[in-house]
């Protein structure tokens, strides 16, 4: 089995608090891997460590077997690991078209072109249009991102990450806060992600997790608790106790 993403004893401390405790995560190539856990388990911290938004206190991160532990965030993105954020991180004043165009141009390493007018590369615009169509954003592509409905912004959040043509895509609660009637668009977009992209999903919504994932890791208090197939995790009494149980009572 080949691993797309692997961490070895990954650790993050904030002062005396251990947010990530010796996490050794193994995500196979092409996997649909979910990372679940109760609130405050440290899921987003793991994503931040993986993408270089936070520096780990100890441990190693391997992307396709290559050690990226000390690489800066933008280098990791260029190496093919992109992410979405739990709270939208978009460019309020740019349009979806400009946002996606920018993401494509940066991925191609053309971001420092300072004497070519935007749109001077037709194939770049074509690629951006393709992505916008794929995420059903063409009708709003010229609007300011700030005025888009929340569901559209959520789609754009995923589209931007896809525009980076990732090998590994990290989705941080992609459906969080989306109203019920816009939800199916997000779920469809996630289901339609290219098969060759390895996906690591953080999600609270158990329906989404169990319909999507072929592998589930459970994080509790910053440490990996169980890693198994969805069926096994669903049956595991310990998981029920710490996680599903909590939710049932909550």
């Amino acid at each position: 089995m080949t691993l797309a993403l692997e961490t070895i004893d990954l650790e993050k401390r904030f002062g005396g608090i251990i947010a990530t405790n010796k996490v050794s995560l193994r995500v196979e190539k092409g996997a649909r891997h979910a990372l679940i856990g109760p609130n405050g388990a440290g899921k987003t911290t793991v994503i931040n460590l993986l993408t270089g938004m936070l520096a780990p206190s100890a441990g190693t991160i391997l992307l396709d077997g290559e050690n990226i532990t000390t690489l800066k965030a933008h280098k990791r993105a260029l190496m093919g690991m992109t992410r979405t954020f739990q709270i939208n991180q978009l460019f309020a004043d740019l349009s979806p078209l400009e946002t996606i165009g920018l993401a494509v141009s940066e991925r191609r390493g053309q971001g420092l072109d300072w004497l070519r007018v935007v749109g001077g590369k037709p194939d770049l615009v074509t690629e951006a249009a393709d992505i916008l169509e794929q995420f059903q954003l063409t009708d709003v592509m010229d609007e300011r991102t700030a005025v888009l409905p929340y569901g559209k912004q959520r789609l754009l959040e995923i589209a931007v990450a896809i525009a980076g043509r990732p090998r590994v895509l990290l989705l941080d609660e992609p459906a969080a806060g989306v109203p019920e009637d816009e939800r199916h668009e997000i779920l469809a977009a996630i289901a339609a992600l290219p098969k060759d992209v390895t996906v690591l999903l953080i999600e609270h919504d158990m329906d989404l997790v169990f319909s999507f994932a072929d592998r589930i890791s459970v994080l509790v208090n910053g440490a990996l608790f169980v890693e198994d197939t969805p069926e096994a995790v669903a049956r595991d009494p310990r998981v029920k106790a710490v996680y599903l149980g909590e939710e049932a009572h909550g």
Partner: protein, 346 residues
């Protein structure tokens, strides 16, 4: 899945719209160049407007496009001013246009060296750091009076004719034409740069550095690049002042100059390149005419205008001109025609 041809054409057109020339822009430059022939009596003040406009354009590049606020932009202006003065005084580079470029590059080096100080921290940190750099430079110019003339200013600067042909005259006819041409050329360059993928990435960095880095953008590299680039503009503006007045004094580096500059840009509005130019026109005219009316108290009126502007501009200081610009966009027959086309298409 592939996008249809019409969609791609629409996207292509929409992307290109950012860089398209607006009719009002032609009007602006026609008036500016027309003033060479039609307003010879105003060339002295228009010369000041031109270099101040270029200086404000420089601040707009970092503030309006990259979100770097500065209270010490005079550091680069002053540096360019002194370099131009010294080049002329010691006859190192006597041809003004060439000396101008050398002065700009000198300021650019200073900009590059100090750019690393503005990479981190909040707006407040940046205000203090830029302010500090300008203060340090001013006191160095004061201290090294054997080189700069200290508080007496740099004396004995004589200017050679521009390109060996055009002699500077008392009425600033040459000076205005010279400054305007420089301003126009550098404006065209700036316009190109802000409408490039690099320019778009600056807006991204300004809007959301976290997302920008997640896209693969090295935020610090982009900030260093634009800060260095803008320092060139400020240095050239300073050099223009020295060359057109054949004099440089400590106030080219003063805090007032940096603060006034921020005022100029806010009057005109940041983030669309013309703000600094319009602000420079308004500021210089106000300074001139209010000073005639109330020689001592004219800053009162400038202060009042500033307060009103910032209060009116709800979305902070950069976009109070937005409604006017939207109106201008509506007046643009090309945009209107396209909207009509789109309406028919549906």
């Amino acid at each position: 899945m592939t996008a249809s041809r019409s969609l791609i054409a629409r996207a292509q057109d929409s992307v290109a719209a950012r860089a398209r020339w607006h009719p009002l822009e032609f009007v602006f430059w026609l008036v500016a160049f027309g003033a060479i022939w039609f307003a010879p009596g105003y060339h002295l003040i228009l010369t000041e407007v031109a270099w101040l406009g270029l200086f404000a354009l420089s601040l707009d590049l970092i503030l309006g496009y990259a979100g770097i606020i500065s209270l010490g932009h005079a550091a680069f202006f002053g540096f360019g001013a002194y370099v131009a003065g010294l080049l002329a005084k010691h006859e190192l580079v006597t041809e003004p246009a060439l000396a101008l470029i050398v002065s700009g590059f000198a300021a650019m080096l200073l900009g590059f060296a100090t750019s690393f100080l503005v990479l981190r921290g909040s707006d407040l940190t940046r205000l203090m750091v830029t302010l500090g750099v300008a203060l340090v430079l001013r006191e160095m110019a004061n201290r090294f009076d054997w080189l700069t003339g200290g508080a007496d200013g740099l004396q004995g600067v004589t200017m050679q004719p521009v390109l060996g042909h055009f002699r500077f005259d008392l009425y600033a006819h040459t000076a205005y034409t010279y400054c305007l041409v420089v301003l126009f050329v550098l404006f065209l360059l700036a316009r190109r740069v802000v409408n490039s993928p690099f320019g778009l990435s600056l807006l991204a960095v300004k809007g959301n550095p976290l997302r920008a880095s997640a896209l693969g953008i090295s935020v610090s590299t982009r900030l260093v690049a634009i800060y260095t680039f803008a320092a060139f503009y400020a240095g050239v503006a300073g050099a223009l002042l020295t060359q057109t007045t054949a004099f440089a004094s400590l106030d080219v580096l003063s805090f007032d100059r940096s603060a006034d500059l921020l005022l100029v840009l806010i009057i005109g509005g940041a983030g669309y390149l013309y703000g600094g130019l319009i602000g420079a026109v308004v500021f210089k005219l106000m300074q001139n005419y209010l000073a005639l009316l109330t020689p001592q108290y004219w800053p009162f009126w400038i202060g009042l205008v500033l307060v009103v502007l910032v209060l009116v501009g709800r979305d902070r200081m950069t976009s109070w001109t937005l409604p006017i610009r939207r109106l201008a966009a509506k007046l643009d027959w090309r945009t209107t025609a396209k909207a009509a086309d789109a309406a028919e298409g549906h």
